[in-house]
Structure formats: C-alpha cells, structure tokens
Symmetry: C2
Subunit: 408 residues, 2 copies
C-alpha cells in the first residue's frame, strides 16, 4: 500500500490539475440556465442595432433646446411622429421635433429626446420645451448595450438569467456548453440496506445516496446512484470497474472503519492504471478521505459518517467537480457571510475544522451558533445553515469573534 | 381607470396575503431537491434504531475503565467481537470488552467504546486499556440523531441535500410537496420579434422571454413562454385570458410607453373579476409596474426595460412566487453580503433605489462598484454580481460607505 498521504486542503485542491474537463455539447438556450459556456460569445452586431428612445416624448437635436427653462421655453416645430417598429422617414433638422414613444427608433438627425412631461403641445405643428436636453439624453445609442465584437459572455461562465437574455438579444438560441459531468454514487458497507427496504436489526438505510445526489445536482452535475456494495474486495472492485465505465467521477461512501478504508484502497489499487493521490486530509470532520486516479478519472472514498461525507463533498469534492465541469476559476466565486460567533470554540491545531452553525439575526447582525454533535448525525446538518472554517494554525475562537460563514 | 396606485415596496409585499398557495402533489425523494415540503415530517421511529459505535475499538462499560491511564492500564477480558450488520449475542458484563468496528451495533450491557489506539490486545482473551472513557463516549445512542416523534423537516421548507438524507434515513421515499407554480411569460410590444427571427429595422428580439424564464426557474417555478402579442386591446385581452387558463401567474413584459401601460391596465380591467392592486411602485428602476388580481391569480405588468424587469422580478415578483409556492416565511432567508461602496452615489428621496454593482475583493473585503448605465441595457446586469438597495429616505451614499449587497 502507498505511504499514508495525509494532505492539507490546499494541497488536495492543487490536484485538480491532474484531471481534465468534460467534453462539450450544444443545447437550446431555453435549457442553458446554470450550464457552463464552453466558448466565449462575442456580439455579432451592434445592440441595439438602432438608436432608441428610453422615454415617451419628442426626438430633437439637443442644440435646439439649449437655454430652455420654465420661464423661457424653446419653441420647436412638430414635424411628425414615429410609432413602434416604424422606420422614421423624416430627417430631423434644427428647431424640429418628432413625437416618439419609448422604445421607438430615433429619426435621422435627432440626437436626444425631450420627455413628454417637459414639453407642451401648442398646436398640430408646434411644441414648447421647458428643459434643455444633452446630446444622447433619453436615448440608447446604437451599440450602447453591446458594440459589435464585444464579449457577451466569456467561456467558462455559468449562465445566469441575464446571460440568457443577452444571448437571446443576438439570436443565439443554441449555445455550446460543457457536458454535465456524470457522478456515480456507490454506497459501501455490509450494514447498509437500500432506503426502500426496512432495515433489520443492526442495519441502517442508505442515506448518502440521497444526500450526495442532492449535492451533486447543486454542483451542476448529474448524480448516478449505483446502489450498495458489501465489504468484499471482488464485489467492490467489480462495482468500481462498472461504475468507471459509466461515469466521469465516482464517489464511494461508507466504510469508516480502518478495515473498510483499506479495502477501498486495495480495490482501487488493483486497477492497472491507478494511483492513490490522497489518503487522509487534515480536516475535521472528514479526515479519512481517499482520492484515487484511475485512468483519467477521479474516484473519491468519502467518510462513512453522513455529516463528514457532506462536508468533504462541499469543501473538497465540489471544487473538483466545478473544474471538471469547465467552470473558469474566476467564475468560481464563493461569498461568505460575516457573522459573530455565539460561543467559545476549541479547535485542534494542525487541521482545518469545519464547524456546523445555525444563523440567527440579532442586534442587526448575524450570529453563528455552533451545532454540536457527532459527525455521524445528519441532524447536525439539518439544523445548520452554514459552516465556519477554523484554520489549521488556530487553537480556537472566542465567543463574539468575527467569523465568515460558508452557506450550506 | 383606477386611481394611480403608487405604493412603496413594503406595501406591495403585503399584498401577498391577497393570494393563496398552489395545490400539492407527491414526488419521489430523488426528484425532491429544492421542492417545498407541504407537510411536516416527524420521525416515525428512533434514528439510529440501535446504539452504534463511531470508532473501531472495544465496546465496554465505561465504569470498567475509570482510573485507567498510560502508566496504569485497566485490564479487561475480551469476550468476543461484533461484526458489521451483526446482532451481538453477548451480554457484556463489568470488566469485559468486545471488539467492535465503526458503525456496528453495541452489545447489550456496553455503554461506550474504547478506541483501538487506546488499547492493546495482550492475548486472545485480554486487553489493556490506557485511557478511561465516559458513558456514551464514541457511541451514537439509539435515537440520538432523531428521537421518534421529532420533527425531521417542517412544512414549508425548501428541501436541501441534508433534508433528503434525513428523509431517506426513515425510508420516506415519497414526499408531499407543493406543486411548482407555472408562470406564463407573455412579451408585449409591436417592435418585438421572436428571438428566432432576424429583426427588421426598428425591431428588436424578445429578450425577456429568456431572462425572465431563467429567473422564474431560479425561484423554483416552471416558466411557460407564451410568445409575443402586439399593442392592441383585443389581442392582449385574449392572450391574457388564454394564459390565465393555463398558468398560476402571468408576467406581461414590455410596453414602457404610457400608452402601452394604459392598454395593459385596460386589458386586465376588462375581466369581470379583476382588480388593479398596484399601478406604480416607488422604486428605481421599475416604477411602471402593474399588479392586478384576475380571479384568484396575479398578473404582473413588468416594465419593458430589460434591467428594470429583472430587478422588479428579483425584489417584488419573486417573494410573491415563493409565497405561492408554499415556502414558509421563516424559510425565506436572504443573506446580503457586506461590502464597501467604491464611489459616491446620489439617490432621489421618496423611492428605493437598486443600484447594480460589480464585486471586487480588495484589502480583505468586498468592494461594490456601481455599474452605471440605463435600465434598458442588459449589459448592466451581465456585468453585475449584485444590487445595493438605497432606502427611500436616503439622499445618497459616500464612497467607502458600508453597504449590503443582494447577490443577483
């Protein structure tokens, strides 16, 4: 067996470089929310393709209104109107005005629009303007939203509603995105029965299949539950082989006993092209985590304790999945919520602790109250809204300390 | 026409009480991520149903180890072992120990587990223990995760991965959730063409269909794009009638000109059982927003400007959808990210401003840099990561001011 490779979080995350990205596919824009764009999209043309009014009013040359005020209105000649979706035939000259609605196309010669509230129609051919406008005022110029050639969406971006809108504006109704990685979930352990069954005495239901599937989905990947395999070398090795043929990544979960962990390592090492990259991470909970590379695929051996498995997923596995899914590093933002700690917390040095916390709003700020309990208890996560990270060099935090909560 | 009802945000949000919730349905747990649970689920039994070891080691009575230390080990009689999924036959007495693996069932008479690292096997029938354990140590007691009758998930909760796990632990593989509201999206305006077409001069593509559909999906609802309708009373009224038969909520978008807005109001008032609840909101952007109740359904007239429509959706429409979707008010948490403002911002009093901002990490904190630009420009949202709310009574904020960013 390999030498025990206990790494810290940063060392583990660097191993993302060992793995590539999934292939690409084309999808309809309507299905592209949260998908990761594979290639930068640039504006093929100016948006909008013509100057548009942003208000109801009168298109003018701004110079015709200079000096106008409440007591000193500018008198302009009304030479027509332009309706929605209409290409104005008029070429507007100095001292002239054209009635225009919000969104309509500016006539040639006009450079701004006087709001209807700031003008008065005197008769069919003349208006008074009570406020001057600047060139460009109340107008969206041609190309002001995106000029031809501008980047509409960079490659590696996870598409948000506004990105879909911008792509639609250019008629890009099919986009090239990264395939969603398929993540196999294989539960291990002789004591585990499918959640569809009633466990006998000394047995428990398979929980990780559901909780991990939810996390996989939240990461933008496709969970592929693969059932349960007992603690036997041949069965585990065969199940891994099958899973690796069908999935981009494999999560094994269960087996917190040393014997079971050793078995997992052996089953993975039995592949010709395998390498154990991580065997233990300096975090709590979650130390007994295994990462192997089999061929070009990642296989994770997650801790059996349900809360440990979820925390390791959130802090370690997820960044690997995002990288595999093609997300650009600069798009991978994590916002942490500043809060104050609600009680003293001790922490062992030399490992990063993730403390589950419940959030409460008090005195105009968030208070993070640690949810204590063993990492085998799923209720500790059910009753939490986030995690507080206590760095490896820190011995603990005092009540009232400023912390940043990772929402979970 | 009704008197112009310009309300502030709080007044508008109170109108949620005018509308009910959608009906319920049953779904498989595998499809239940992000769904809103309709009815509280309580634990039908203790979880775990038996006491389990959380470590590899030796099940003992804690009292048998009291006083044990490195120099003064306790000597215990090894009376057997218990494997995974095995119901121990042994009844453990004082001074006795049983070999046990992580996750296995504690034998009767044992109340704690000595970690394998803190014991030494002397021969087949005796071990030395070098550290005392307390009753309950390294054990998850029966019912310690959830006692029978405890609330596993409250009604009105949006199910997270950990909630799915907890439900699976009890074999709850079908759950009763609220139906996902169907939200019709009808774009209006003579100048709008489907994004599938090449717009002629003075025409633009339908953007809101895509950006609003994305926002609807993010809110956990089902977007139902209904195409484009021109600025004519009969067509608009007929389209609304059809839409209302098929959807739980209707979003009309487009028509920023006063004429078009009036037309929308007229088309809605023409329904026998309709009432205009809102005609203008004291926010910017987004003032020209309409909310009508037709029968028991909400119809929104969103501003035509694309960024305005999205901001009104995020701040106003979305809370209505969450309420319709059955989300309990206490589950509707919004976390805002504290940041410092990167430049001075003026704001008109008497209305709430939502300023689009880009976030940048500098000097260990987030800086919010306003993205300026007209609300007709979608790039202002493409280049933003959030919104800063400037309250109605505030005249503006200075560079460096502490703000809270609504992530967008």
């Amino acid at each position: 067996m390999d030498f025990f490779k206990v790494l810290d979080i940063a060392q583990v995350l660097e191993l993302r470089a060992e793995f590539g990205r999934v292939s690409i596919e084309e999808v309809f824009l309507e299905e592209a929310l949260d998908r990761v764009l594979a290639r930068e999209v640039r504006a093929p043309e100016d948006l909008p393709p013509f100057a548009r009014s942003t208000v109801d009013g009168f298109a003018v040359r701004a110079a015709s209104t200079f000096g106008a005020g409440e007591g000193n209105p500018a008198c302009l000649t009304l030479v027509g109107g332009v309706g929605m979706a209409e290409v104005p035939r008029i070429r507007l000259g100095p001292g002239q005005a054209v009635r225009i609605a919000t969104g309509a196309m500016l006539p040639e010669g006009a450079d701004s629009v006087v709001m209807v509230e700031h003008a008065e129609v005197l008769d069919e051919t003349s208006i008074e303007v009570f406020r001057s406008v600047a060139p460009g005022q109340n107008v969206i110029a041609r190309g002001e939203d995106f000029a031809a050639g501008a980047v509409v969406a960079p490659g590696g971006r996870r598409l948000r509603p506004q990105d879909l809108g911008a792509l639609a504006a250019f008629g890009r109704l099919r986009v090239t995105v990264f395939r969603r990685p398929v993540v196999g979930i294989l539960s291990t352990g002789d004591e585990i029965v499918p959640a569809t069954e009633s466990p006998g005495p000394a047995q428990i239901r398979d929980v990780n299949r559901y909780s991990l599937a939810g996390l996989v989905r939240q990461a933008g990947c496709i969970p592929q539950p693969l059932g349960i395999v007992g603690d036997r070398f041949e069965a585990l090795h065969a199940a891994c082989r099958e899973a690796l043929a069908a999935c981009d990544v494999l999560l094994l979960s269960g087996g917190s006993s040393v014997g079971t962990r050793d078995l997992t390592v052996e089953a993975l090492q039995a592949f010709a092209d395998s390498r154990i990259l991580v065997h233990g991470i300096a975090i709590s909970p979650g130390k007994p985590t295994i990462l192997a590379r089999v061929g070009d695929k990642a296989v994770w051996g997650l801790p059996g304790h349900v809360a440990s498995a979820m925390i390791v997923f959130a802090r370690i596995v997820r960044p690997f999945l995002l990288s595999l899914a093609g997300l650009a590093p600069e798009e991978e933002r994590e916002y942490r919520l500043p809060a104050r700690l609600d009680r003293n917390l001790a922490s062992a040095q030399g490992r990063t602790d993730f403390v589950r916390v419940r959030l409460e709003r008090r005195d105009g700020q968030w208070w993070a109250e640690p949810v204590l309990g063993k990492s085998g208890l799923i209720q500790t996560l059910v009753h939490s809204e986030g995690l507080v990270e206590i760095p490896a060099f820190c011995e603990g935090l005092e009540r009232g300390a400023a912390v940043e909560v990772i929402l979970f």
